[in-house]
Symmetry: C2
Subunit: 205 residues, 2 copies
């Protein structure tokens, strides 16, 4: 792509560093900003800068937060004995949206993935193990995605806490609500049969 | 969407103002920035700010430029008698990429579109008409997209310059190179038959 302006080129190239944004999309976005009043770019730039500079992570669960201890961890109405282990803060938001979970979270910040060079030491695993060993935790719910990396991470954590006297569980895998059976993959369908639930319980939630 | 941080929420909302970027995509982009070193956000913010503040538009063709007269307009090797009228600077880039055009451009900055509240006065039409009436222009090539708005804009400009002694043309409409006839729409296929070209000429370009 040939640009008639170095400034434009630089802006497009920087924007194209974002995941899923190619050069063409980037150009469209940047030209949109150019057509808008200057304040619009100012607002965006300001919001990004202060977010990146000032945002904090909860010292307890590593969720994103504006204060040292996030709202969920400091909420005394929640059950602090049940910890849901998730990969990143998007998962916290997703589970919070369901309104079905009243415990607290622990954000790992990723999954163990040797291919991507992510080992256990880069994730917030130690603080979780410590929490389990020292605190009054009754249950750990693994809510990582059901991939090889997710399973590896689950297993790595499980190994470290298996001697503790707590319940460990994973979220249920099965056919999505509303999905047609014929389009489900074999593994999911197989699991959903093996891990079938009593009919009376299936109405809940 | 419930955010655990106001800073994050603000950044996501600002990013979601960009065209084609929804809240979810915006969140993904912002979280990506959070995972990267702070400099990455700095570079992006810096590039956007200086682009928005310092970028200029060529006084002659209204193309984006770092200097008062853009490279194309100041290039004496190009044919300044042939002006290609385009909607925005992306079209300039697209035509430049073909390497088939050696004239200069005139960027309108949009199309006449009453529905979107865009009238002729908001576009760079007057400067084009003036250029045609005073300068030594031999040909105007309309290269707007072939929509109702594009055709309206073409016609509006044509009406104003039809008394001048110049050639006016539009870019050819027809079946795309490599396209299957059966998938072409009727209007395009119809035009491509009406405006057929001599076989010997069809090899060119």
């Amino acid at each position: 792509m040939e640009f008639s302006s170095k400034l434009l080129e630089k802006a497009v190239n920087e924007m194209a560093q974002l995941p899923g944004i190619g050069k063409r999309t980037s150009l469209r976005l940047v030209l949109h900003l150019l057509k808008q009043p200057k304040e619009h770019t100012g607002f965006l730039v300001q919001a990004l800068t202060s977010m990146r500079e000032e945002v904090k992570f909860c010292v307890s669960c590593h969720n994103i937060s504006d204060v040292a201890v996030c709202e969920i961890c400091s909420n005394t109405k929640r059950d602090h004995q049940i910890i849901c282990v998730v990969e990143d803060i998007r998962d916290v938001m997703a589970i919070e949206n369901t309104g079905q979970f009243r415990g607290i979270y622990h954000v790992l910040g990723g999954k163990i993935s040797p291919i991507d060079g992510v080992g256990p030491s880069q994730l917030n695993i130690n603080s979780l193990v410590e929490k389990v060993k020292t605190g009054n935790v009754s249950e750990i719910i693994f809510a990582l995605s059901s991939t090889m990396e997710g399973d590896t991470t689950n297993f790595y954590i499980f190994k470290q806490i298996q001697d503790c006297d707590i319940i460990t569980s994973t979220i249920a895998r099965g056919i999505s609500v509303g999905d047609e059976l014929e389009y489900a993959d074999e593994v999911t369908l197989g699991r959903s049969i093996l891990q079938r639930v009593p009919f009376e319980k299936s109405f809940k939630g």
